[in-house]
Amino acid sequence: MRNCLRVLRAERRWSQADLAGELGVSRQTINALETEKYDPSLPLAYKIGRLFARPIEEIFFDGEGVGSSAQPALTVPAPAS
Protein backbone atom coordinates (compact mmCIF):
# COMPACT_ATOMS: atom_id res chain seq x y z
CA MET A 1 0.00 0.00 0.00
CA ARG A 2 1.10 3.54 -0.70
CA ASN A 3 0.31 6.44 1.61
CA CYS A 4 0.81 10.16 2.13
CA LEU A 5 1.52 9.99 5.85
CA ARG A 6 4.81 11.84 5.55
CA VAL A 7 3.09 14.79 3.85
CA LEU A 8 0.34 14.95 6.46
CA ARG A 9 2.91 14.83 9.24
CA ALA A 10 5.00 17.55 7.58
CA GLU A 11 1.92 19.79 7.28
CA ARG A 12 1.59 19.71 11.05
CA ARG A 13 5.35 20.08 11.54
CA TRP A 14 5.44 16.93 13.63
CA SER A 15 8.46 14.72 14.03
CA GLN A 16 8.06 10.97 13.68
CA ALA A 17 8.29 10.74 17.46
CA ASP A 18 5.45 13.30 17.81
CA LEU A 19 3.20 11.29 15.51
CA ALA A 20 4.17 8.07 17.25
CA GLY A 21 3.14 9.63 20.56
CA GLU A 22 -0.21 10.76 19.14
CA LEU A 23 -0.94 7.27 17.82
CA GLY A 24 0.51 5.31 20.74
CA VAL A 25 2.97 3.38 18.59
CA SER A 26 6.76 3.32 18.30
CA ARG A 27 8.76 5.70 16.11
CA GLN A 28 9.99 2.64 14.22
CA THR A 29 6.39 1.88 13.26
CA ILE A 30 5.88 5.41 11.91
CA ASN A 31 9.06 5.11 9.88
CA ALA A 32 8.01 1.72 8.47
CA LEU A 33 4.60 3.16 7.54
CA GLU A 34 6.09 6.22 5.84
CA THR A 35 8.59 4.16 3.87
CA GLU A 36 5.70 1.86 2.91
CA LYS A 37 7.42 -1.22 4.28
CA TYR A 38 4.54 -1.95 6.60
CA ASP A 39 0.77 -1.66 6.11
CA PRO A 40 -1.16 -0.72 9.25
CA SER A 41 -3.98 -2.77 10.73
CA LEU A 42 -7.48 -1.45 10.09
CA PRO A 43 -7.82 -0.08 13.66
CA LEU A 44 -4.53 1.83 13.31
CA ALA A 45 -5.52 3.10 9.86
CA TYR A 46 -8.78 4.46 11.29
CA LYS A 47 -6.90 6.04 14.16
CA ILE A 48 -4.62 7.78 11.66
CA GLY A 49 -7.66 8.91 9.67
CA ARG A 50 -9.29 10.38 12.78
CA LEU A 51 -6.07 12.11 13.82
CA PHE A 52 -5.75 13.87 10.45
CA ALA A 53 -9.54 14.28 10.03
CA ARG A 54 -9.53 12.49 6.67
CA PRO A 55 -11.10 9.27 5.41
CA ILE A 56 -8.55 6.48 5.26
CA GLU A 57 -8.85 6.16 1.46
CA GLU A 58 -7.39 9.67 1.18
CA ILE A 59 -4.37 8.59 3.19
CA PHE A 60 -3.85 5.00 2.01
CA PHE A 61 -4.25 3.79 -1.56
CA ASP A 62 -3.18 0.71 -3.46
CA GLY A 63 -2.38 2.32 -6.82
CA GLU A 64 -4.91 0.10 -8.59
CA GLY A 65 -8.46 0.54 -9.83
CA VAL A 66 -10.02 3.79 -10.98
CA GLY A 67 -10.85 7.10 -9.38
CA SER A 68 -9.43 8.57 -6.23
CA SER A 69 -8.10 5.25 -4.91
CA ALA A 70 -5.68 4.99 -7.83
CA GLN A 71 -3.81 8.15 -6.95
CA PRO A 72 -2.71 9.81 -3.77
CA ALA A 73 -4.97 12.58 -2.53
CA LEU A 74 -1.87 14.47 -1.51
CA THR A 75 1.43 14.48 -3.32
CA VAL A 76 4.87 14.99 -1.94
CA PRO A 77 6.05 18.52 -2.84
CA ALA A 78 9.25 18.79 -4.84
CA PRO A 79 12.23 19.71 -2.68
CA ALA A 80 13.21 23.40 -2.86
CA SER A 81 16.29 23.91 -5.00
Binding site: G24, V25, Q28, T29, N31, A32, K37, Y38
Partner: protein
Protein backbone atom coordinates in the same frame (compact mmCIF):
# COMPACT_ATOMS: atom_id res chain seq x y z
CA UNK B 1 -2.35 -3.02 30.37
CA UNK B 2 0.96 -1.70 31.57
CA UNK B 3 3.19 -0.72 28.68
CA UNK B 4 6.76 -1.81 29.32
CA UNK B 5 9.38 0.62 28.09
CA UNK B 6 12.69 -0.74 26.89
CA UNK B 7 14.39 0.41 30.08
CA UNK B 8 11.75 -1.08 32.40
CA UNK B 9 11.97 -4.35 30.49
CA UNK B 10 15.77 -4.42 30.74
CA UNK B 11 15.64 -3.63 34.47
CA UNK B 12 13.16 -6.40 35.20
CA UNK B 13 15.08 -8.85 33.03
CA UNK B 14 18.26 -8.02 34.95
CA UNK B 15 16.43 -8.59 38.26
CA UNK B 16 15.20 -12.01 37.15
CA UNK B 17 18.68 -12.94 35.89
CA UNK B 18 20.22 -11.95 39.24
CA UNK B 19 17.62 -14.11 41.01
CA UNK B 20 18.41 -16.96 38.59
CA UNK B 21 22.13 -16.71 39.34
CA UNK B 22 21.46 -16.60 43.07
CA UNK B 23 19.18 -19.64 43.01
CA UNK B 24 21.60 -21.54 40.79
CA UNK B 25 24.57 -20.80 43.00
CA UNK B 26 22.64 -21.54 46.21
CA UNK B 27 21.10 -24.78 45.02
CA UNK B 28 24.32 -26.12 43.51
CA UNK B 29 26.24 -25.27 46.67
CA UNK B 30 23.76 -27.13 48.87
CA UNK B 31 23.57 -30.13 46.53
CA UNK B 32 27.29 -30.42 45.79
CA UNK B 33 28.16 -30.34 49.50
CA UNK B 34 25.56 -33.04 50.16
CA UNK B 35 23.78 -30.84 52.67
CA UNK B 36 20.39 -32.07 51.46
CA UNK B 37 19.85 -35.83 51.50
CA UNK B 38 16.08 -36.09 51.07
CA UNK B 39 15.50 -36.70 47.35
CA UNK B 40 12.28 -34.63 46.90
CA UNK B 41 14.03 -31.64 48.45
CA UNK B 42 17.10 -32.18 46.26
CA UNK B 43 14.85 -32.24 43.21
CA UNK B 44 13.05 -29.10 44.32
CA UNK B 45 16.36 -27.37 44.97
CA UNK B 46 17.73 -28.49 41.63
CA UNK B 47 14.71 -27.04 39.85
CA UNK B 48 14.56 -23.83 41.89
CA UNK B 49 16.40 -21.67 39.29
CA UNK B 50 13.40 -22.23 37.04
CA UNK B 51 11.36 -19.94 39.31
CA UNK B 52 13.33 -17.17 37.61
CA UNK B 53 12.78 -18.97 34.30
CA UNK B 54 9.01 -18.58 34.71
CA UNK B 55 9.50 -14.94 35.69
CA UNK B 56 11.41 -14.30 32.47
CA UNK B 57 8.80 -16.20 30.44
CA UNK B 58 5.96 -14.01 31.76
CA UNK B 59 8.11 -10.89 31.35
CA UNK B 60 8.72 -11.66 27.66
CA UNK B 61 5.02 -12.41 27.15
CA UNK B 62 4.13 -9.10 28.79
CA UNK B 63 6.62 -7.33 26.56
CA UNK B 64 4.97 -8.89 23.51
CA UNK B 65 1.45 -7.92 24.62
CA UNK B 66 2.42 -4.34 25.37
CA UNK B 67 4.29 -3.88 22.08
CA UNK B 68 2.66 -2.11 19.13
CA UNK B 69 1.51 -4.05 16.09
CA UNK B 70 4.73 -3.77 14.05
CA UNK B 71 6.87 -4.71 17.03
CA UNK B 72 4.62 -7.70 17.66
CA UNK B 73 5.04 -8.72 14.02
CA UNK B 74 8.83 -8.44 14.30
CA UNK B 75 8.86 -10.48 17.53
CA UNK B 76 6.60 -13.13 16.00
CA UNK B 77 8.78 -13.41 12.88
CA UNK B 78 11.97 -13.68 14.94
CA UNK B 79 10.45 -16.33 17.22
CA UNK B 80 9.18 -18.26 14.20
CA UNK B 81 12.71 -18.19 12.79
CA UNK B 82 14.14 -19.38 16.13
CA UNK B 83 11.56 -22.16 16.39
CA UNK B 84 12.30 -23.49 12.90
CA UNK B 85 16.06 -23.06 13.09
CA UNK B 86 16.22 -24.88 16.45
CA UNK B 87 14.18 -27.76 15.05
CA UNK B 88 16.47 -28.05 12.03
CA UNK B 89 19.69 -27.80 14.05
CA UNK B 90 18.67 -30.24 16.82
CA UNK B 91 17.24 -32.76 14.36
CA UNK B 92 20.37 -32.49 12.19
CA UNK B 93 22.56 -33.13 15.22
CA UNK B 94 20.39 -36.08 16.22
CA UNK B 95 20.84 -37.59 12.77
CA UNK B 96 24.60 -36.97 12.95
CA UNK B 97 24.69 -38.82 16.26
CA UNK B 98 23.12 -41.85 14.60
CA UNK B 99 25.00 -41.74 11.32
CA UNK B 100 28.36 -40.17 12.07
CA UNK B 101 28.94 -40.87 15.75
CA UNK B 102 28.60 -37.27 16.91
CA UNK B 103 29.05 -37.09 20.71
CA UNK B 104 26.19 -36.87 23.18
CA UNK B 105 25.40 -33.32 24.21
CA UNK B 106 23.55 -31.97 27.23
CA UNK B 107 20.00 -30.66 26.89
CA UNK B 108 21.45 -27.37 28.17
CA UNK B 109 22.65 -26.77 24.60
CA UNK B 110 19.11 -26.42 23.26
CA UNK B 111 18.54 -22.97 24.76
CA UNK B 112 21.83 -21.41 23.53
CA UNK B 113 20.93 -22.66 20.04
CA UNK B 114 17.39 -21.27 20.27
CA UNK B 115 18.51 -18.00 21.89
CA UNK B 116 21.13 -17.44 19.19
CA UNK B 117 18.59 -18.18 16.47
CA UNK B 118 16.13 -15.77 18.15
CA UNK B 119 18.79 -13.04 18.16
CA UNK B 120 19.62 -13.67 14.49
CA UNK B 121 15.92 -13.77 13.61
CA UNK B 122 15.41 -10.44 15.41
CA UNK B 123 18.18 -8.80 13.39
CA UNK B 124 16.74 -10.13 10.12
CA UNK B 125 13.16 -9.08 10.98
CA UNK B 126 14.25 -5.62 12.21
CA UNK B 127 16.15 -4.94 8.99
CA UNK B 128 13.11 -5.84 6.93
CA UNK B 129 11.18 -2.88 8.34
CA UNK B 130 13.98 -0.30 8.58
Amino acid sequence: MEILSGRAYATRLAMWLVLYAGLLFGSLTLIDRNLVAWLPLRVALGLSPMIAGFGILFLVMGRYRSADELQQKIMAESLMFAFGATAIITFSYGFLQRTAGAPELSYFWVWPVMGSAWLLGSVIAQRRYE
